[in-house]
Chain length 148, copies 2
Amino acid sequence: MKVLNKHTDYAVRALIALGMKPGSRISAKTLSEEQGIPYQFLRRILQELIRNGLVSSKEGAGGGVALARDPDEIRVRDVIEIFQGSVQVSECMFRKQLCSNRANCVLRHEIMRIERMVNDEFAKVTVGKLIADLKRVEEARAGVQVQE
Amino acid sequence: MKVLNKHTDYAVRALIALGMKPGSRISAKTLSEEQGIPYQFLRRILQELIRNGLVSSKEGAGGGVALARDPDEIRVRDVIEIFQGSVQVSECMFRKQLCSNRANCVLRHEIMRIERMVNDEFAKVTVGKLIADLKRVEEARAGVQVQE
DNA sequence: ACTAACTGATACTAAATTGGTATCAGAAAT
DNA sequence: ATTTCTGATACCAATTTAGTATCAGTTAGT
Ligand code: FES
Ligand code: FES
């Protein structure tokens, strides 16, 4: 059972890649080659990110895409929301047997609690944070290589 | 994006229903009617629960199913595991660009953290707990009705 | 012994979702 | 003009999900 699908996965990777080259526009083609993401698929993902204001674009030759916001203001949760809809643990089904009314459905209660937790966690993870982590790891690795 | 599918959902509801009538065997047919779960679908779900030792069964006339364990020892997480496999936030894809080696992949790191959290939360919720909550709510409601 | 009420096992299906491709139109740079 | 890009959208195959159907075997009651 995978929580994140390819859309979300690729979107996050693309956002990280964009965030690591701040200021510069990158074409979808270049991005797709660098990240090994199928071109047409990435195109559609980027267009969705653009529509939702996470990424800005410029048409025509020399055009491309760039982050439209501070990486710290882009939450993985936002990306999930765009491509998979908000995280729901289970749909409500208003079962007469188990819950006479929705307000006091036990299942729903438990489920909503976990739902909130998951959402909060994904909201804590921003593209900025991932980039920072990534850079830290890369520097550490570079350090090790020098010592070898 | 739903985290729990119908298999898990129905399974949990069935387990709750069984747990509320301790000792007695119930036929899949009765259960399906009481809970409004499609009969053949419920049958398959029950068989899976039986195979995994959460439910015991008796064949033939007068047969049926019953919980095979203490409701407090049946975790929603176990049910998820049976029908949806263990909760994974994202599959690992060992992308050369983002993670030179798997041990220090940032994405993976964050994702595993959330994965663990979700799994732990679902492990905390047992059928016994849900039944207790349900009974509490029902008693409260009965009390209100008396006062009316 | 017969029958009705059950479970075990498993094959099948329709519809939705997922992951990916292809195409065409239009914008900007050279 | 031509090349390089995005915008929009239609299409597609494979998988998953949710549900159905069937047949064989077991047990209880008569
Ligand atoms: S399942 Fe929706 S109110 Fe209980
Ligand atoms: S995605 Fe698997 S190691 Fe990074």
